[in-house]
């Protein structure tokens, strides 16, 4: 079955990588093509296969270079794991029902306690009932800082993910003015600023936005020259996937460049492959990714469904690479908002996650949908 993997395994061949997988007391060793790791799903199947546990739900974790136990549950962190493994990828498998979530996280394998945290939280060492923040499989991004490498250090591009109506975006914007350096000296120019954060709202809970931050872009579109109402409308129109570039009022917390020392949770070491795209296209280039915006159709049988996208005719290399591309750009937090090109909506980027989000939506709406 896994001829492809066996081939060339164990040797010092550059293209392969050894994997050591532990489930309970059992170890399995096999190798993977480093340059071609495949999808997480396939890897998961492979693990189940090699451990002969085909119907057991398991959690997969790996030890990163710092010795942290980190989960593998999607393509991204799987690829991350593969790309950072040196030379060996150590995999730890737990049964889902027995899983110890607290095992995951920073400094989990090398149990050296941070002195400072001990001082600040003296009860830390006591075995306190652990708060499960979230099941690892429920991880979903709430916000992220993106494009750190291409933006000026004084700017911050923040992406807010809105899932249904769980939590309000929770911020207000206002008109204001900021001082700019222009060829004619300093000039006061009108700008849009965050005026208020709603307590408990998404914006506040991320900590990435603050009152008096100047809004420079909304989903890649500059706001200069636009009125408050226009910017409001743009933000609302993009509210399901809002990317705003701000100039923080407080410039002391800016991300400092070239200091990617910690790879703990992969935030800053992620762009091994993807920077290509930015080198070629440094500006924010939106691509059509509207999966989060899928409309719902209820046919006369009364069952709500997501509206499928009409499949374009050309199923070719282009469409394949296009998928790759959109996947890559997405991995970098590049969420395109734009379909200026008006090309037919590409198929194939749907994921279960989106479908799930849509399902949630429907559950909420069951009350209103009256079908004849």
């Amino acid at each position: 079955m896994n001829r492809g993997h066996r081939h060339g395994a164990g040797s010092g061949c550059l293209g392969t990588m050894e994997v050591k997988s532990k489930f309970g007391a059992e170890f399995r060793r096999f190798s993977l093509e480093r340059s071609k790791p495949g999808k997480f799903e396939e890897f998961y199947g492979l693990l189940q296969h090699v451990h002969k546990i085909p119907n057991v739900d398991v959690l997969v974790g790996y030890a990163d270079i710092h010795g942290d136990l980190l989960p593998i549950n999607n393509d991204d962190n799987y690829h991350k794991a593969v790309s950072t493994a040196n030379p060996l990828l150590r995999i730890f498998i737990q049964k889902k029902e027995e899983a110890d979530y607290s095992a995951f996280g920073t400094d989990t394998l090398i149990k050296k306690k941070n002195v400072l945290t001990n001082v600040l939280r003296p009860d830390n060492h006591r075995k306190k009932p652990h708060i499960v923040i979230s099941m690892p499989q429920d991880f979903r991004p709430v916000s992220s800082i993106i494009d750190v490498d291409i933006l000026p250090e004084t700017h911050r591009r923040v992406r807010l993910y809105k899932y249904g109506t769980e939590k309000p975006l929770g911020f207000y914007i206002r008109d204001g003015s900021s001082v700019r350096v222009t060829p004619h000296g300093l000039e006061k120019v009108p700008g849009i600023f965050i005026s208020r954060l709603v307590p408990g709202g998404l914006a506040q809970s991320t900590g990435l936005l603050a009152v008096n931050d100047e809004v420079l872009e909304v989903n890649g579109i500059e706001v200069s020259g636009k009125s408050l109402d226009q910017v409001t409308d743009m933000m609302i129109a993009n509210s399901r996937n809002l990317i705003i570039t701000v100039r923080p009022a407080n410039q002391r917390n800016n991300v400092v460049r070239n200091s990617r020392t910690s790879g703990s949770s992969g935030q800053s070491t992620d762009n091994s492959l993807l920077s290509y795209s930015q080198q070629v296209e440094p500006s924010f280039e939106p691509e059509d990714e509207d999966s989060e915006e899928d409309d719902i159709i209820i046919e006369d049988n009364g069952v709500p469904q997501q509206i499928p996208k009409a499949v374009p005719d050309a199923e070719s290399l282009e469409s394949l690479t296009q998928i790759e591309l959109s996947f890559e750009s997405e991995q970098n937090g590049f969420i395109p908002s734009n379909d200026v090109s008006l090309a037919p909506i590409a198929s194939g980027t749907n994921t279960e996650f989106e479908a799930r989000a849509a399902d949630q939506k429907l559950l909420e709406e069951d009350g209103t949908i009256i079908t004849l």
Partner: protein, 1057 residues
């Protein structure tokens, strides 16, 4: 970093071994390729993506050329009555009327179709307009004391109005401003001189066209004083000049009237006083009899006096003095005409003079002739009036034939030759806002039959008008006859629908439909009361059509839908009333069937706090010829009807409110179905008529109404002055403080995604009938589509029985689809495209051979236009095909959308269907069908002009209308082919040598300035057609643009959200 959404993909998937290796192998191939060539490939990809973007159709030269043949933006003509008129002028020789407005516009009207518009650079009110005798020129006086000279010049066979010169009279350094404040202007018949009366009492003389002051000819008050006998000198201090008139026969004499009551006749050649008249009352105005032998003066106490003119005897007392509405104190007579007739006594026509206590608030012009006396009572303030009479100075009598009155809200012309002095119906300057316009509906290309029937019905309504030919008929129109018959229907607050001929330059009222008769209103009682209340004296007679006061706001018309083929009309109003009407050439008496439709479908727990529904009149009602209602559907709760559609072939009418929508079979007079769209948590929608904002507006209006009613205009009105300043000064002051308050409040906007729980999500925004493939691709069927404010589209499939069994079998409907747009923006338009991607034709269009039948072979597509996006879905299986995001990219939202056919100006018979779109920023865009590619964009309406944007209506051939004031529609055209604009020639043989054609700028300042004013803050976007130089210059100058923009933005005031 939070993990990727793809996490979900992992759970619980089991791949078979074979599948697993196969996929890995496939990926391997692809990945090897990618990794080895990754940089190049990705680079290529991005480059390709960029190419795609650059190669947007906008950059395809062939398409660009075609676009130039198809699209062109022009504001062509302003229909209706100028907002806030402030001055009237008339040229008896040119037979052209001029109206000046408070915003500095000058509009000229001659024969129907002859129209000119000019705009002063200064945003000041036009106070006076004077045509220069015998020339195609006019002088205007603004309230900043500046004089402007305009002329009509012929270029390329077409006259253009342009400003030649401007001038401000300046006194010596140190003189009081009043010394040169112009009060009266007299253009002298020598064509070269203007006499300017001032507040100081001096009369200055300027030479035209250069506006050179001839100081040696100034008639100073001192010089006049010298020429007066001792007793007159002592009694009077000179005050401002109130009247200046040239001797009707002898151009060397002029009359000067001073405000304290002194009138002199001045000899221009010898610079001396020929004679003088002293009145004990303040002088208001003077009229000089045709032969120059009699002077009639009018005074502030409501009296007028006659003074015989003879140089030998000085009369200390007037020959005759009368106070027409005495003996109790009367208001001033501000202007008087004394006009002789061949038969009988002269006409005495004067403004004002009413008894102060009981009729002081009326706006009256009285006409006395022989034993006939009438006080024409206007519903709005009289700005100025003039009398049309014999032009030839050598004729023995004036023989006046028409009285032209410019009131604040309308132009009234009265036929003085026909007994009873009936009104003459003006062919233009229609008072669109005689009751406030609440909605409008345009129907292009009306079949001749229907057109004639509407005109026939309308002519009976106009029987009371005089048969006199329109007396103001100067100039000739060169515009080609309108290419087709177009109807513009306006719905009004008082429950009327007006049918306007919108085919050409003149917007003409064809027919007036009142829905009031169907309902029981409290007007019935008050009408009879009014009739009794009118007394015999003064002989008041109400004239004009302006009546802004609605008896019952519930009567207001909100939606109109006319089927031009069948003559069926559906009209819906504020209190949930939907009327279906049919055109009947005969008067008829019948009962209107009333059906109540419960849109809440007995849902519990709702309480309507708004107005009650209108009570329908029971029993048979008599209807005049024209559109006669036969069915009344009353929505329950009686919320305002927000959408309406009529399908005359299926005989169905669909209507929607904020609660839901319903379908009614008006053939069987039976409800087919109703659908409640209300979200259970939406309390606001239930409470009543659209939030508090509306009611605030209403109360404001009512308080203004009270103000107007109680107003007593004790103030003296200068005949052509800047009246009304005081009255509106109060308003502007209030507005200003309001604005200041708003600026103080922090303006902030909440950023929140739309949710199903938002208010008014159930508000039905659009309804659409289509014969399409709703359920399966083999069978098409009638369907009804509805779009809501919450981004939901409902589709119902209908079964309409065949014609022969139409009466026997019920129409049947079933919900087939419901589409929920995830972005939840209001759905403003729904359209189905046929197999050739052409919009489905209108009902009956095919039956009348006016359209190709739709392609029912290929697959149909559904276009849903929300405020934020355009989306195309396939049918019958709904899958997303294309979309165009508007708001996400540019922050503008769709306000109006219409399908228009754009014909090519170059190739006969070539045309394309596209969407004309108006955004909330006032931009107009053309979006292509079916590919949704933006074609052109023009800025059209200022973004602050909310009512203008809300009033916009598109025609089917790429034109449109929007309100630039409550009383004026601006007409615009997006099409190169369909352009309705005035082209006319005014020719005065005497002045031909004056109008030397000038080279250079190909465009008159009139046009350039007009556009500059209208085009607002937007740059004209991507599409710059080779246009007139001025426009380009203006819009390309970034600095100017920014300036405009900043002032506009600075002016905005918003409350906190």
């Amino acid at each position: 970093m939070p993990s990727n959404p793809r996490t979900q993909e992992a759970s619980g998937r089991h791949l078979s071994v074979g599948a697993f290796s196969r996929t890995l192998l496939d990926t391997f191939k692809a990945t090897v390729l990618t990794s080895s060539l990754s940089s190049t490939l990705i680079g290529l990809q991005w480059a390709a993506a960029n190419m795609r973007r650059f190669l947007r159709p906008g950059h395809d030269p062939a398409r660009e050329r075609l676009k130039r043949d198809l699209f062109q933006f022009n504001k062509t003509v302003e229909h209706g009555f100028p907002h806030q008129p402030s001055a009237l002028g008339y040229s008896p020789s040119l037979r052209i009327l001029a109206i000046g407005t408070r915003s500095g516009a000058v509009k000229l009207y001659g024969a129907p179709g002859v129209e000119f518009m000019g705009l002063h650079r200064e945003n000041n009110a036009v106070v006076q307009i004077h045509f220069l005798p015998g020339q195609c020129k006019l002088a205007t006086l603004l309230d900043d004391n500046s004089l402007h000279l305009w002329s009509l010049k012929v270029r390329d066979g077409v006259s253009e109005l342009q400003e030649d010169e401007s001038f401000t009279l300046r006194g010596p350094p140190g003189a009081a401003p009043s010394a040169t404040q112009i009060t009266v202007v007299l253009p002298h018949s020598c064509q070269e001189l203007l006499y300017l009366g001032t507040e100081s009492g001096n009369v200055f003389v300027v030479q035209l066209p250069s506006f050179r002051v001839l100081e040696d000819q100034t008639i100073s008050s001192d010089a006049v004083l010298q020429g007066l006998p001792e007793e007159a000198r002592q009694r009077r201090v000179f005050e401002m000049v109130e009247a200046l008139q040239e001797h009707p026969r002898d151009s060397s004499q002029i009359l000067i009237g001073y405000s304290r009551g002194l009138v002199i006749i001045w000899d221009l050649q010898r610079s001396r006083v020929l004679c003088h008249f002293l009145s004990s009352q303040q002088l208001e105005n003077v009229s000089w009899q045709r032969d120059g032998r009699l002077i009639v003066t009018c005074h502030s106490d409501g009296s007028h006096c006659q003074w015989p003119v003879s140089s030998d005897t000085q009369q200390p007392e007037p020959l005759r003095s009368s106070m027409p509405y005495g003996p109790f104190p009367c208001k001033a007579i501000t202007k008087i005409f004394w006009l002789t007739t061949k038969k009988g006594l002269p006409f005495t026509i004067f403004q004002g003079g009413m008894p102060r206590a009981s009729y002081g608030d009326r706006h009256c012009i009285s006409v006395f002739h022989n034993s006939q006396q009438t006080a024409f009572d206007f519903t709005s303030r009289v700005i100025d009036f003039t009398v049309l009479a014999e032009v030839d100075p050598s004729a023995a009598f004036d023989n006046p034939y028409a009285l032209v009155v410019l009131a604040e809200e309308e132009l009234v012309v009265i036929d003085l030759q026909t007994a009873g002095w009936p009104q003459v119906q003006p062919p233009y300057l229609a008072s669109l806002h005689c009751s406030a316009i609440t909605c409008s509906h345009h129907v292009s290309n009306i079949p001749l039959k229907l057109w004639e029937r509407i005109i026939a019905a309308g002519s009976r309504q106009n029987a009371h008008f005089s048969a006199m030919k329109w007396p103001i008929d100067g100039g000739t129109t060169l515009a080609p006859p309108p290419p087709q018959r177009d109807l513009l229907l306006t719905g009004h607050e008082d429950g009327t629908v007006r049918f306007w001929d919108a085919s050409g330059v003149c917007l003409r009222l064809l027919f007036r439909l009142s829905t009031v008769r169907v309902f029981l209103t409290d007007t019935d009682a008050s009408e009879s009361l009014n009739a009794q209340g009118e007394e015999e004296w003064p002989p008041l007679r109400k004239v004009g059509s302006f009546d802004p006061y609605s008896d019952d706001p519930r009567l207001g018309i909100q939606k109109i839908f006319l089927c031009k083929y069948s003559g069926y009309l559906a009209v819906a109003g504020t209190a949930g009333q939907v009327l279906v009407l049919e055109l009947n050439d005969e008067a008829a008496e019948h009962t209107v069937e009333e059906v109540e439709v419960d849109l809440l479908q007995d849902q519990e727990g709702y309480r309507w706090k708004g107005h009650e529904r209108l009570a329908a009149r029971s029993g048979a009602v008599c209807f005049e010829p024209g559109f006669q209602p036969f069915v009344l559907v009353q929505c329950q709760p009686p919320a305002v009807v927000t959408s309406l559609a009529l399908h005359s072939e299926w005989r169905l009418v669909a209507f929607g409110t904020s609660h839901g929508f319903g379908l009614f079979d008006h053939h069987q007079r039976r409800q087919v179905f109703v659908k409640c769209t209300l979200h259970p948590s939406d309390q606001l929608a239930l409470e009543g008529p659209l939030s508090r904002v509306k009611s605030l507006k209403k109360s404001l209006r009512q308080s203004f109404r009270r103000m107007r009613h109680s107003r007593v205009s004790s103030r003296k009105c200068r005949p052509a002055g800047a009246p009304g300043e005081m009255q509106t000064a109060g308003i502007t002051k209030a507005e200003r403080t309001g604005l200041q308050n708003m600026e103080l409040a922090p303006v902030q906007r909440k950023i929140e995604a739309r949710s199903a729980e938002d208010s008014f999500t159930g508000f039905v925004r659009t309804l659409y009938f289509a014969d399409t493939y709703l359920r399966d691709s083999s069978r098409h069927c009638p369907s009804l589509w509805a779009g809501t404010n919450g981004g939901t589209v409902y589709a119902f499939s209908l079964r309409v029985p065949p014609a022969e069994r139409r009466m026997d079998e019920p129409v049947w409907a079933e919900q087939a689809k419901e589409i929920q747009l995830m972005h939840r923006a209001p759905v403003v338009g729904i359209l189905v495209l046929d197999g050739h991607s052409v919009p489905l034709p209108e009902p009956l269009e095919v039956a009348h051979d006016l359209s190709k039948s739709p392609d029912m072979q290929g697959s149909h597509q559904l276009l849903v236009v929300s405020e934020e996006q355009f989306k195309v879905f396939t049918l019958p299986k709904v899958s997303a095909k294309l979309k165009l995001k508007l708001t996400a990219l540019e922050g503008s939202r769709v306000r109006r959308v219409g399908v228009a056919h754009f014909g090519s100006c170059r190739v006969e018979d070539y045309g394309e269907h596209h969407l004309a779109v108006l955004t909330n920023l006032g931009d107009i865009q053309v979006v292509s069908l079916p590919l949704l590619k933006p074609q052109v964009r023009y800025s059209c309406i200022r973004r602050e002009d909310v009512s203008g944007i809300a009033s916009c209506v598109f025609t089917k051939y790429g034109q449109g209308f929007y309100l630039i004031s409550p009383s004026e529609f601006e007409r615009f055209s997006l099409s190169t082919k369909w352009l309705v604009e005035p082209r006319c020639l005014v020719d005065s043989s005497k002045t031909r040598n004056h109008s030397c054609p000038s080279n250079g700028n190909s465009m008159g300042p009139e046009k350039a300035v007009g556009r500059a004013r209208n085009s607002g803050s937007q740059s004209d976007g991507e599409e710059k057609k080779p246009g007139p130089v001025m426009e380009h210059a203006l819009l390309n100058d970034e600095r100017v643009l920014k300036e405009i923009q900043s002032t506009l933005e600075g002016d905005r005031g918003y409350g906190a959200s």
